[in-house]
Subunit: 229 residues, 4 copies
């Protein structure tokens, strides 16, 4: 139940107060409930300090929002693959638009993940960046045009060609790397469209975290995964 | 028991595997035991992902190793004051030599700490840097010449003038900000000397974390705090 | 004529196309003409690649917009004190709000400048930051609230207390370090006010670089320096 | 004569004092002399402040060591494509191991170069990184294992498979992007081997810049380009 399966819905808690501390655990539990009911894969990305408690509270995949490209040792204030692994995470995001890193660091993070048997979902701003990162063989790449993140204007509606082109480009250079998408995803309809365009999952943050009714919103989106299977 | 009191011994777990996950809790408990026995202030700085479990396991001050200069919100992969506060930390380090930040970021971190009623221990490489940061009124400044960190050559033995000058300079510009010191502290003798030179505490990492016998090593150092009170 | 004298008008060319290449030389010549006519100190800060040609074209102080905290050597893409010195610059800005650096880097840049006998004007966002940097003993500190930069709302009009407090705070901790100010300075009136509030000069960018008539605008501002002497 | 042609010898001046200011012009002239004599392509990468004088002194391709991913405007201390273009450069390096940047920044630098009709040579640490960057379609990619840079242990001797694999991988994903190599190249023999392994050129820094006799050393290396044509 900790494995990533595609299609997937990944919920990024960012550092929203609505999903910090105890509320992170609650949100993760709602996600778990729906994942089990529908039999689909929903992963949650709580903040680093919330990782261990979230991970011991639910049986769905828990991902870190980032890790640093360093091995355990004299690295004050860093996040290591070892630490998130021991905290119960099964993987991490890397290169999110709010936490961009250098190309050599993306590579090292992917290597660290491999070493500790962790999944690594690498984010990219454009089709070409997605294809570039795919060559480094992360678990999956997620295309998120930064200009749409947090806008409520879904990538699958506003920039559908970004998804199809990414899928096509990535297929050419790294056929085993699934392409996810994100940015502005607000509704089940947005998720549906993304999957129709060839994405194997979506990354969602504010639309779920800030929803009045978490269960309703997650259900609305997760249902699309069932239909696409 | 969660308050910082000076003189103080701060143990920085860094990302050492010897102090990750469950071992972080064990180390914190040893520190707590000695703090209680001797009636001295010992603070621990576990990794971010280990914060909540360490904080609920001990009744001594738990500090984050760093926080980011951002408010809660759309900041994937960042560490907020709110998050470490909810995780049970009473404060944070900032600008450690392994995680240097910009001056404006040090200022913002100190402001965030004030907002959330958190302690903030700001690190500096030289006397003048210590005085510069002291003007921003963190809880305390810690002078740690980077070239001695992790060497076993104690700042209090190798560069005693760095401590006395820092104490003097800081007293002039920010008389209420205690000066701590760190780098290469290996023995009770090193701690003793640091306190004699005017430091109101020490930051120690590898000498304790990698000690064969945590209790013995912490005791050796913490005893000096008793004698200096 | 290459020396910095206070009060001073510093013109930051940024990377504005209006002040790139040949236009940088022209703008510097206009500044030189007025500096000579009025007998006041006007310094110009062209882009790095424009430094040598500007420096050989005028006899007023030419400053780099930044240098990196590294010594000459294996540092591809960096700007060294040696290189700007050989190019004819007499100093540099450091920590401008558009190029913030770490506190330890500010310190190293100031040290490099001292080594090569270069002036160093260090920028700061707040009074306290200004005082903090002043302790590191740059040639002068320049307070520029980032939220006013480029707005046309002058710091001397909108935040006069920022100038008086900076002057006061810096006087306490580093009495020999002059305080300059910048951000939103648009008119002679703004410059006048800044000097009345205790600033020993101003940093101006867009108001001059993007002025329809460079000579007129520089004259309007530089005249204030005469009257304040 | 300003065009890049392959095979190519690129001389990176870094910030070596031996190739700063007037000495940069001299070194560029020696390179030009040999390029003309042998009829091969030699490009020089002086420091930013030395660009304009070097560019007007020679008629071989002059490249910047880096540019920043920003358009002309309010970017104090940055290097724009426009500025290096006006200074006479025909292109730039990007992502050199001593100046690594984020993947999205590499993409933006390549875009800026395209906009200003500049060449862009992108550096990479590994075969996969080289292939990843090649997808973004720079003019060429240069593989330089950081651990060999400046060692005198040539990549073509120590890690020949790195070159062949890079050539192969890049050919698959971006067949029009030539692969160069660098790191530790010391002799004509090293250059020869690199070309035999499929590289279409080499990046050399210290071996030439710090050579007792520039002409001799450049000649020794450049001759290999003739033979490989």
């Amino acid at each position: 139940m900790r494995e990533l399966k595609f299609p997937i819905l990944i919920i990024n808690f960012k550092t929203y107060p609505e999903a910090t501390g105890k509320r992170a655990i609650e949100l993760a539990r709602v996600a778990e409930k729906i994942a089990k009911e529908l039999g689909v894969c929903i992963a949650v990305c709580p903040q680093h300090v919330d990782l261990p408690k979230v991970a011991e509270s639910v049986e769905i995949p828990v991902l870190a929002q980032s890790i640093d490209p360093v091995e355990p040792g004299a690295h004050t204030g860093h996040i290591t693959a070892l630490a998130v692994k021991e905290a119960g995470a099964v993987g991490t995001l890397v290169n999110h638009s709010e936490k961009r890193v250098r190309l050599d660091e993306i590579r090292k993070v992917i290597e660290e993940c491999r070493k500790y048997n962790l999944y690594c979902i690498a984010c990219a701003a454009t089709c070409r960046e997605a294809a570039a990162i795919a060559i480094l063989e992360p678990t999956a790449v997620a295309v998120e045009p930064p200009e749409l993140i947090g806008t409520g204007r879904a990538v699958s509606k506003e920039r559908p060609e970004l998804i199809t082109e990414s899928v096509e480009l990535v297929k050419k250079v790294a056929p085993n790397v699934p392409v996810l998408c994100g940015a502005g995803i607000e509704s089940g309809e947005d998720v549906k469209r993304a999957l129709e365009l060839g994405a194997q999952g979506v990354l969602v943050a504010s639309a779920i975290v800030k929803a009045k009714n978490w269960e309703e919103k997650i259900l609305e989106m997760a249902k699309q995964l069932v239909q696409s299977k």
